[in-house]
Amino acid sequence: MARTISVEVVYRGIFQKTLAKNICRGIVLAARKEGKIGIAFGRYGDSPERNGIPAKNFAIVAPDEETLQLSMAQYEPAESDITIAVDDTLCKGVESWAWYGLQPINEKIREGGTLVVTSTLPAGEIVKFCHTKAHPYRLAVIPGIPSFSGLWVYKDDHTDVRILGALPKVCPDLVSLDAMLAAIKDEWKSDLKVTSARRSYEQTTTRTVGPGEGNPEVPYKFDLPGWTRMREGVTIEGMKLGEPIQFGGQVGGYRPQRNPYFKKYTTRTMRPVIDFDKCIKCTLCWLQCPDSCFDVMPDQTYDLNAEACCGCGVCEAVCPVDGCITMVNESAFTDNKSQWEMWKTNKDAYRQWVAEKIGCRPERSHGFRYKGQYEEQVASMGAASGGGQGGGE
């Protein structure tokens, strides 16, 4: 029976903008092949997407105009049949704007709906990141490295069509495989991409996520004040100054106050791991961090505030000591605890932790790869079809 189907695509800012747009276009064009109509749109406020910061696109498909209007939304549909996370670290939740709070990746998924994730992690690992829901939903994993396809140069690793190919499998009501493949052929004029989509359809598996399964943490959120309570003159209180840090007997250093309304850590795909034994206290990670996310510790080393860090990697780039700061895939972590306190409390345990994190797979970057690297990586994954046309890299 024909009904309206809402698809939400959650992506990471400007370098996945084209990818998200391709996915939503593909959905609407494929539905058209079956005589349905649909719209594809981005959340207006997200544009221009800051790189890394979670943003959203939507595709809504319906049998006819009037049914479509029932589910029309100017910003976001109330719920989704399919939510697509084009980067598995988004499963930890997204904070797109100040005051939005932390939105679980599965927040909009209706009962029986599906969360589609591109990842090299097993489904069981991904479920651990996702916040618990009261009703059951399904999780589909499309094996593949999260694709940061770039802006001016679209580094085509077929992630767009591999996601599209999986959709008829996870939600036959949306569109048939044939229609999807026909649309892909029309849009991209590429048999290779059609093959990628078909392979993805065959290989995508889903599992059910039961009520209460996943991350039990209660996401933080805020209540917006009304006009009678808001300060006049479009003014708000400034931030307060920071303070020295107390740890055990030690007092010293400096910890800036950090904004409670926008923490920014859901922007992160990699996290700096600090080997404090190697730190020469050169100050560069702290001084060069655009997000002021390093605290100056009483012993003049620099600890990461993992709630403020968006994972740009500048600290690793400027650190003069080899292996002192290493960017590690965010999926290797389950909390935002202080690394310095871990180190202070038990140095041996910490060294072991550092070695384990640094050695951890999957390897991760911001998606900017040397020429041909995509092709190698995609080819090395059985799930993938034979690489891409390399964009203009």
């Binding site: 400096y254 800036p256 309304y261 911001h366």
Partner: protein, 342 residues
Amino acid sequence: MDSPELATMPLPVLEPIKGVKKAPLEEYFTSGHRTCQGCESALVMKLMIKAAGPRTVVLGSTGCMYVANTTYYSTPWVVPWMHTQLGSSGSAAVGTAAGYRALMRKGKIKKEPINVISFCGDIGGADMGLSAISAALQHVDYNHLILLYDNESAANTDIQATGSTPYGAVTTFSPTGPAKRIFHTRWKKNTAAMLAAGHPECRYVATVCASYAVDFMNRVRRALTIGGPTFIHSFDPCPKGWDYDPMLSHELGELAVLTGIWPLFEVEDHTLRLYGKSKAIAEGRQKRLPVRDYLLKQGRFAHFTEDDIDYFQAKIDDMWTQWLIPGVLPFAAEVLNDTPPA
């Protein structure tokens, strides 16, 4: 009617910072902003106010550092901060400084040094706001600093070309295509030198790059302590608009200087000084790196052919070999050799 004592506003004491380990611990621009991963302009804000200190007010004209910084009823600012219109960084500085001056002179508020810093992006500074900044640099009675953070596009709006966008760069207003490989054919404005040359009463103009944090902070301190209106032009790599790995923001800033694309100089009381690596380049102690090392790391130049790179290199070579003052004043050397008729 002003007595000289009343007419001159007190100036702050801000000693030069001697090395990274002497940088103040306090952050007056902290987390809570929504800038991109690896945003160099956010670092510029942080270093600018770290150097200026707590007795400072900051005015920000529309652009990334407005929309992304104080966005959506949230703020990263510890010191007072106020929005001003896109073309108003100059006027905002003058109005704020004039207000303090009047109130202090009339004894309506305590007479004390207050740093007034007004920043703008490249549209706000090099294009739309240029006229107001020029006027602001003439009002020598008012102490303030106008800081232009230049990420070479309207990066906040959707990455459109501006007068500060380098030759050939791809933006949403200058895409590349089969009919037009090079869409943006304008050469980047020489804003800092233009303002320095055009406003002889302005006591301090400098170019900076946040990749050299201590040099950066000390130029801000010089601008705030010398008196009168001052101008600083900061070169800010932008991972979003330039399409590169955020991790490279710091390195690209260094490369812009080392390739000679972004000369570091200051003009203080009519005396021009190249400084840092740019000084070394001018004195031949540092070899300029080829511009390709800089260009090819960025998606916005991915469409460049070898000829395009050569052209870009030739223009930079001219800056350093043909200009009257290398890297600063683009007049032909013939001007010097001109001999009047006998």
